[in-house]
């Protein structure tokens, strides 16, 4: 804000500096205040509470006290390592599936739908008009052992007569993919739609086959959408517990189910908090590594 054009000696002539009255200097900070306040109330305070909860010991009967006991972390890691791993595995599979399904869909909406474009976008968003729980419950009915999907698969011989879809890892990944697909499609669509189709003609004119043109022009230009879409899918999917609850089995739980039962059923707050922080930290590390790798090089 203040002028840098002062004399090199420390004894700058104050008269040459444009004097900003002190009350004017405060204005930018005052303007920041609402945002800072919001962050403090909705981010810093909950986070501090969560961290301090994770460092408490005690029992429900005697009450919990802050003892800075880090052993809770090592305890929950060893006890729930399989659930942690499964969460990231399921979330990762669902993200890849959502990308594989969502990219062609977003591409079609952006370039091929023409006058159907708005209708298709509405259809992508339409499931949000009903509750997340209801939609997941609906899948439970669709995939049920006596449901038409299993029946059809058994009829055509793609599934043994005792085979089932419900209560399998596949059903959970399918549920996750379904539930977070719009979060993949919308950012992809937004980045593809911005692309000038003339660039593809130019690539063709410059001796690129359609496949090469996709690889060298469309894909790099859609990377911001890919990054946004995968993050918006992976992060909530990693913490989800509803899909396992409805479509999975108790012995294929994700970390979200553990946290939920620790907090709400067992009332073991320190363990639940430690697990929450662990998930947060792992997701943060994965996201930073991912954005660094994809983002720094190609993102505009």
């Amino acid at each position: 804000m203040t002028a840098l054009l002062t004399t090199p000696t420390g004894a700058a002539t104050p008269a040459e500096e444009p004097t900003v009255p002190p009350e004017r200097r405060r204005v930018p900070y005052l303007l920041l205040l609402p945002g800072l306040l919001w962050l403090a109330v909705f981010f810093v305070v909950p986070l501090v509470t969560l961290v301090s909860t994770s460092l408490q010991t005690g029992s429900l009967e005697e009450g919990y006290a802050l003892t800075f006991s880090w052993s809770t972390y090592s305890d929950v890691w060893s006890t729930y390592s399989s659930q942690l791993l499964r969460s990231f595995l399921y979330a990762g599979s669902a993200t890849v599936l959502a990308l594989v399904i969502g990219y062609p869909l977003a591409y079609a909406i952006a370039f091929k739908a023409h006058r159907w474009r708005n209708l298709m976008l509405v259809l992508v968003v339409a499931p949000f008009f009903t509750s997340f729980l209801l939609r997941t419950l609906a899948w439970k009915i669709v995939l049920a052992d006596d449901g038409w999907v299993v029946g059809a698969l058994q009829t055509v011989g793609l599934m043994s007569d005792t085979g089932r879809l419900l209560a399998t890892p596949a059903a959970v990944v399918l549920g996750l993919t379904y539930n977070f697909l719009p979060f993949m499609v919308l950012p992809l669509y937004a980045s593809l739609e911005k692309m000038d189709p003339l660039l593809l003609e130019a690539a063709g004119d410059l001796h690129a086959t359609p496949v090469t043109a996709f690889r060298t022009v469309t894909w790099p230009l859609s990377l911001p959408g890919v990054v946004a879409g995968t993050l918006l899918t992976f992060i909530p999917a990693a913490g989800d517990y509803v899909n396992v609850q409805f479509l999975g089995t108790p012995n294929s739980q994700m970390i979200g189910n553990v946290i939920e039962s620790r907090f709400l059923t067992v009332l073991d707050y320190p363990a639940a908090a430690a697990l929450s922080i662990t998930v947060m930290a792992v997701v943060l590390i994965l996201v930073v590594a991912y954005v660094r790798r994809v983002g720094a090089r190609e993102l505009l």
Binding site: D196, L198, L199, E201, A202, A203, G204, D205, L206, H207, A208, T209, T212, T216, V217, P220, L221, E298, L300
Partner: protein, 392 residues
């Protein structure tokens, strides 16, 4: 027919670009109609016409971005009309440049070479950037360049592939006048140096005349006339061409008699001489004269110059001084307005508004026009109803 095409054009070269009976219809709208022309290899060829005349569609068919409804695009004897764009030895400089925003200038220029598997492109790319005077800009992104610089990247990106034919789709349209002039000369210089065939689409007649060896004037999907800039200007054969390239005074009359190599035409009672044999006595005849070829003088013009044998009496209705020239509007007894441009070279007798004058010119400066061309004789040709969906 006014249309001159491959048949009586210059001698066929082995790698000339030939369009044969090319036609493109979008639904019921015909954008290009039975176009036949030859672009000699190594020439700078301009397709000139108003927007919607089919020139951009023609260009896109040569590039392979549009499939012809009928007809062929040939390079020499080789029919390339069914080849995919990336298989043609043709590159395009797009109107909006279409540079890849995510690639550096270097990578934009190297794009075509890399697609064809060329290794060690760095030296060639640097050389090409030098040619377009952008050495040192290789690391930048297109978004960090000015319009003129982007345009030169687009030229470099196309030229580096050493195309047999370089297509330029109004590449100077987005530039301001001064930069456009500069780039016109630049492109001409590059073309002379690399020797590729350049096909340049433009609606700017001055640009076409400055740059091209040969111009094809297009109107409503057809070629009206093809020739050198001088031929087109001095000897336009249709009203459309006469008005699209510069201004013209166009007169209609009926043939009185043919005298040797001249024809005497009666225009509202004034006898005027037109070079050539225009037809049997009594038939209608149209012809024109450029305003700068005519003089507005008081009294008998042959006293000034015995060669000024064509003369129409009239009254000056407007005089405007434009610096380089003075432009007069002279109203004839039959209420037609004729333009006369006089160079301000000094020594002209001053003619004022309201003065009775004679508009006079040499018969050899008169150009006969093809009869019965239905083209609009307006100064500014409006866009014809036939419009390609991709506007030029």
């Amino acid at each position: 027919m006014p249309e001159r095409s491959g048949a009586d054009g210059p001698a066929l070269g082995p790698r000339d670009l030939r369009l044969v009976g090319l036609r493109k219809a979008f639904g019921s709208a015909v954008a290009v109609d039975d176009l036949t022309l030859t672009v000699p290899a190594g020439s700078f060829f301009a397709l000139l016409g108003p927007s919607g005349c089919g020139k951009t569609t023609t260009l896109r068919m040569v590039a392979g971005l549009e499939t012809p409804t009928a007809g062929q695009v040939l390079l020499g004897e080789e029919d390339i009309s069914r080849r995919r764009p990336y298989e043609r030895p043709v590159n395009t400089v797009f109107q909006s440049y279409a540079l890849f925003p995510h690639l550096s200038v270097e990578e934009n220029v190297a794009f075509g070479l890399r697609r064809r598997g060329r290794k060690n492109v760095k030296g060639v790319v640097a050389e090409m950037l030098e040619l377009v005077e952008l050495g040192g800009f290789g690391r930048r992104r297109p978004g960090q360049l000015s319009g003129g610089q982007q345009q030169r990247v687009a030229v470099a990106r196309a030229l580096i592939n050493e195309p047999e034919v370089l297509l330029l789709d109004e590449p100077l349209g987005a530039l301001d006048l001064k930069l456009r002039r500069q780039m016109q000369l630049e492109l001409k210089r590059i073309q002379t140096r690399v020797g590729s065939t350049f096909v340049h689409v433009t609606h700017d007649q001055e640009e076409a005349m400055t740059m091209a060896d040969t111009i094809a004037v297009m109107n409503a999907g057809r070629v009206e006339q093809l020739g050198t800039p001088r031929e087109l200007y001095e000897r336009p054969v249709t009203r459309y061409v006469a008005n699209f390239l510069g201004q013209s005074n166009i007169l209609d009359g009926s043939v009185v008699e043919v005298r040797g190599n001249e024809t005497l035409v009666d225009v509202h009672g004034v006898g005027l001489l037109v070079p050539g044999r225009l037809g049997a006595p009594g038939s209608t005849a149209s012809f024109g004269v450029r305003p700068e070829k005519a003089l507005a003088v008081a009294g008998d013009p042959t006293h000034r110059d015995p060669a000024l044998r064509n003369a129409i009496p009239g009254t000056v209705t407007d005089v405007s001084f434009t610096g380089l020239s003075t432009q007069y509007v002279v109203r004839t007894p039959w209420d037609q307005e004729l333009g006369v441009f006089t160079q301000n070279a000094g020594g002209e007798t001053l003619v004022r508004r309201g003065d009775p004058v004679v508009v006079a010119w040499r018969p050899e400066h008169t150009f006969p026009l093809a009869a019965g061309t239905g083209a609009m004789p307006d100064d500014e040709p409006a866009a014809p109803p036939v419009m390609a969906p991709v506007s030029s």
